[in-house]
């Protein structure tokens, strides 16, 4: 059962990586990298159960937080061309 879930997640990872390499726009690649992060967390959880060591879930939580921050940071960079862009500052100046 855990083995089947692991294989399914690995197949899904392969398909998502195909989209990340082929994606015509940068947003396709960002979407694919976000999905890779999600699948990595699920893979950590399932493999932890498979090996009888569910403590790996802590690492999964950390990956989840990093995943969100990286997605938002990359999107902000491609939207404004600058990570330090501040909407308020831009309006007042």
């Amino acid at each position: 059962m855990f083995t089947a879930a692991t294989i399914a997640i690995l197949v899904a990872l392969a398909l998502v990586v195909v989209r990340a390499t082929r994606g015509p726009t940068v947003f396709d690649r960002v979407l694919a990298s976000n999905s890779v992060g999600t699948l990595a967390i699920l893979l950590l959880a399932v493999v932890g159960f498979l090996n009888g060591r569910p403590e790996w879930l802590d690492i999964g939580l950390t990956y989840g937080l990093l995943n969100v921050i990286s997605t938002l940071a990359v999107l902000k960079f491609f939207r404004h061309g600058d990570l330090a862009y501040d909407d308020e500052e831009e309006r007042s100046s």
Binding site: A12, L15, R19, L31, S35, L42, A45, F49, L57
Partner: protein
């Protein structure tokens, strides 16, 4: 008896979650444009992860592991829509148009002007 029942139930949930994960990944490759791909990717985030984590929760029983799994689920629940919304807004800001089967705005204009033509 009850543990066998829990095992079967968690097995069904885990297999269902795996199926939805593969469906989402296939959609991510096969869908025609960015916005439909985002729709397919959200299947992985919601149904796939939700069912898989529910199955693992039943497997773990009433321990600290269940709480950690719940935290991971809550993380997906709150951050998935935020990331998707930011992605759609950034893509629209870059003038990436959704692919349409037909442009309904044209049809609306035509239906508004058609009675005037017929009357004249």
């Amino acid at each position: 008896m009850i543990s066998l029942l829990l095992d079967i139930l968690s097995g069904i949930l885990i297999i269902a979650g795996s199926v939805f994960i593969v469906i989402g990944a296939v959609g991510l490759v096969r869908m025609p444009d960015l916005y439909t791909r985002m729709h397919a990717a959200s299947v992985i985030d919601t149904l796939g992860a939700g069912l898989l984590i529910s199955g693992l929760m039943l497997q773990a029983g009433f321990t600290l592991v269940t709480l950690k799994l719940f935290f991971i689920f809550a993380l997906f629940f709150f951050t998935g829509p935020v990331a998707t919304h930011a992605l759609a807004q950034a893509a629209l800001g870059e003038d990436i148009k959704p692919q349409l089967d037909e442009d309904r705005r044209d049809r609306l204009d035509r239906s508004q002007t058609a009675p005037a033509d017929g009357g004249a």
